[in-house]
Symmetry: C2
Subunit: 407 residues, 2 copies
């Protein structure tokens, strides 16, 4: 008689963004004429830029001709893409990452889930709070989170790194005497708070990981939004990071690829645990569990790294950021406190004292027809906050802000 | 200090097809003028058919226009694709599978890996031997295989279902008194032997699973190649299968999608363990660990289910099967014994007595410049056999056969 992975029973309710979508759909069913504006899920709205479109069309055409047709590709991704990534995303920042240290995937969520395969179930994970839910969720299946305590809204076995107004939403390394985590999730520019980490603060985390024998999973999905001078564009700008960190990147927000599904991970050759190379383990895993991203999607991804592609995607990012800056400025003008929006597509709004974030979600949806994301969905520390994204059009963003002002 | 998943150290050497590719590449480097013909890895060579190309181009164009651009899609796949699958792949065989029981993925290898998440590590798996290596490999990471015994070429914790000439490469259910497995992998039409199972033999496996409380993972990736009358086109043609079986399908061989990455799984609503619905568990897993297949790839997949798509892909499959039939007929004319090739793109050749399959691989590569797949790569029972695929062009297949005849 077969039996099931009991860790599944530990999931508390549904996935945050599925819950948000469901509430929105229910409201639209009961109010078919309502004009709902979504500033909730972090999904892009701009079409693929011209140079990406051209690459996509050319690659599609190749698939229709026997002379240029492509079947199975390398599990780790095509060299043309990995070489472009190494050159543009790392060499220009003075960081040496080789194409053989880059692994193309079909999305950061898949990569985050897959990478947990490399680690034993005994490791203690540390996550920022508030945080993107997939870090903990991807570890629930492997049993690394313990139980979800409905009272605290936290997992019993997870170490939480509090991100609060007091520390500017950037956690410090645990002090002397504190127990140390084994796997540390960091995300900068941060989702959901929108803040960026400084080079020196990130170096302290790298030093801490090296000292404690921890590994950092560094989610840099919003990298393209960084504008603060001297902010680190990759964790490998920090000395020693190649010995303790895996960096995750996504094309979703950089190039509007949420519907295209493309990502990559950097697993440096120097990253070893005991004598074992994590890079080699990942290669073995790919052979057993993955067959690579679609060729045409990889070609579209490579176009992002051409000079034209860099210019066109940067223009899109700049336009989204105009929205986040407008959101933050308007919220502040209305008297709210708001964070982020400078180095990230997110604005983290502080709710009036005592207001619960799901209550504000309901209020905003039913009274203003605007969808955002309740802060508590990102963890207990997120209660009392609300996330807005800059991925709408300028017109719809202004309309949403006008409606919020009338609340 | 973090530690690693020690199960990785149990992998014996590299992945079979990676090893084959490497040997081929090494030979080509040292013999740059050699004209090597690959009948090894099961990769298609024909371009995408016209109706799929049209859908791909149209969907790509949608991504370049803000009015039709698609971002994140449903984790389980778009309804337009799941509805087409339910109608064409199941209803026409009198089987009722609902779109809500269909989950779109990016390849059978990914799906096979992902589905293991649902089961506890205590389950005993049963696999046919010889077999596609991914069934065992995807379970190694979770620790369900025990240790690889280099002497026997088998995993210590896996139950093997011998597929031999004596049973026509179709295993019978374990007899009374034999210990019973919890998770049973079956693949028909079979890779690597190319044989098909009868409806009554498959029903015996379904009855056995129901009686023992086992779950069957039924890999029907080569479904489109079935031509034997009255052979089951889906396991759900068997009474009770919806209570004990998950069926896996791939677009790779059906529609030449190896470079496109598209697949689906059927997890029936009636499939429950204790009170738990495996379908609901999978939905929860998708929320935590996957973001869906690319929109344009799903549109291309849906085109396969149009009347034109069915006709065009069937034509491609028929052309590949002409090759397998030629391979089998010619091998038999040369005096070899060969199996399969009727309901599958594979021919399973018996080697002369005492010949090892890697030795034949080397002989074939160096003397004839032809690449096949050594039988032992599919497990110990595969020793003494060799797999050829029908995915070459007719001209190259004939050329390879002429070279083999001269060996």
């Amino acid at each position: 008689m077969y039996d099931l992975n009991q860790n599944f029973s530990r999931f508390p309710g549904g996935y945050l963004f599925a819950a948000v979508r469901q509430k929105k759909e229910e409201f639209q069913r009961s109010h078919p004429d309502a004009d709902v504006i979504s500033l909730g899920i972090g999904d892009v709205t701009k079409p693929l830029c011209p140079v990406v479109m051209k690459a996509l069309e050319d690659a599609a055409a190749e698939m229709g001709d026997a002379a240029t047709f492509r079947g199975y590709g390398p599990y780790e991704g095509y060299a043309f893409l990995r070489e472009a990534i190494a050159r543009v995303d790392f060499q220009q920042y003075g960081v040496k990452i080789l194409p053989d240290e880059i692994f193309v995937g079909d999305g950061a969520k898949s990569d985050l889930a897959g990478i947990t395969d490399l680690f034993s179930d005994r490791n203690r994970i540390a996550i920022c709070e508030p945080t993107y839910p997939a870090y903990a969720d991807s570890n629930v299946v492997g049993g690394r989170c313990g139980y979800f305590d409905e009272h605290t809204g936290r997992w019993t076995s997870v170490m939480y790194l509090d991100c609060t107004e007091d520390n500017g939403f950037v956690p410090e390394v645990p002090g002397m005497g504190a127990s140390s985590p084994d796997i540390i999730y960091l995300c900068f520019p941060n989702n959901p708070t929108g803040v960026m980490i400084t080079r020196s603060a990130l170096q302290r985390w790298v030093n801490y990981a090296l000292e404690k024998g921890a590994v950092i999973l560094y989610d840099a999905a919003y990298n393209a939004f960084i504008e603060t001078p001297d902010a680190p564009h990759t964790i490998y700008e920090c000395a020693g990071a190649e010995q303790c960190a895996i960096e995750l990147r996504s094309f979703s927000k950089t190039a509007g690829f949420t519907g295209m599904r493309l990502s990559y991970m950097v697993i440096p050759e120097a990253l070893r645990c005991g004598g074992a190379s994590l890079r080699n383990m990942w290669k073995r895993r790919l052979g057993a569990r993955y067959n690579g991203a679609p060729y045409i999607i990889q070609r579209a991804g490579a176009a992002v790294y051409t000079p034209e592609g860099q210019k066109q995607t940067a223009q899109q990012v700049a336009e989204y950021k105009q929205n986040t800056k407008r959101i933050r400025a308007e919220l502040e003008a209305m008297g709210y406190t708001a964070y982020g929006g400078t180095d990230a597509p997110y604005v983290w709004m502080k709710l009036p004292a005592g207001m619960k974030s799901w209550d504000f979600f309901d209020l905003l949806l039913t009274k203003a027809g605007v969808v955002g994301t309740p802060g508590v969905g990102f963890g207990a520390d997120g209660e009392g906050f609300f996330r807005f994204t800059g991925f709408g059009t300028p017109e719809r963003t202004e309309e949403a802000l006008a409606r919020i002002a009338k609340l």
